[in-house]
Symmetry: C2
Subunit: 128 residues, 2 copies
């Protein structure tokens, strides 16, 4: 389990630091059959997913991960499911706006690269 948790932690650190500083860098995580669900809308393929992520209507965002769970997602294939929850803060026009955030990510871990098969984000919907 330690290895899975380590991979999940590495992935999560990379994903959110890249999201917060250089969203276009996330494209390399996706393949053409990858799917992103973002606020109920679905995007298929690395290019459309990257376009969505890089054209979100805010410039600066800061993620704070509070829970991280990792599991093998198949008994036969080297893949895992990672569930992440936490908060995010938007920074637009010097307005500080906080929002409850929760997201779920699913990825296959290759030998040296991470490839997202699917990811689900429900980040902007406030829980409370």
């Amino acid at each position: 389990m330690a290895d899975i948790n380590s991979i999940a932690k590495q992935f999560t650190d990379f994903y959110y630091s890249t999201f917060d500083t250089n969203r276009s860098g996330l494209q390399s995580l996706y393949r053409d059959s990858s799917m992103l669900s973002f606020e109920g809308a679905q995007f298929l393929g690395a290019a459309p997913i990257s376009e969505k992520l890089t054209t979100l209507p805010f410039e600066k965002v800061l993620h704070k991960v509070t829970t991280l769970d990792a599991q093998p997602s198949s008994p036969t294939v080297a893949s895992l499911i990672v569930s992440v929850t936490g908060f995010w803060w938007l920074m637009t026009a010097q307005i500080h706006c906080s929002s409850a955030r929760f997201s779920s990510l699913y990825l296959r871990a290759g030998v040296t690269t991470y490839t997202m098969i699917s990811s689900v984000s429900t980040m902007a919907r406030k829980l409370s």
Copy 2:
């Protein structure tokens, strides 16, 4: 996509209504290789998962699902990932207790049955 969303909706309705009224009925959804993460602890196999779910320290709970996202989780195998978020209310000793809740569920859908490969619940950790 309609079919996947319909399956996910059926599954979610069944899962949470069973959770709220007859938790032991959830065991049939799991197989021996299924894994449940619950509040950071992991349980492998249908029997240990069911034991965990049926011995949670509360008797009554009511779930309210607020978001539901479904995606295929493989281009080759009939399987899907379902992400559910919402609230839950605990009812113990007539104390009304509300808590933000979020969970992520992953399942393979068979022809007539649902089998959970893995599920991640982070229900009791409050977001705010």
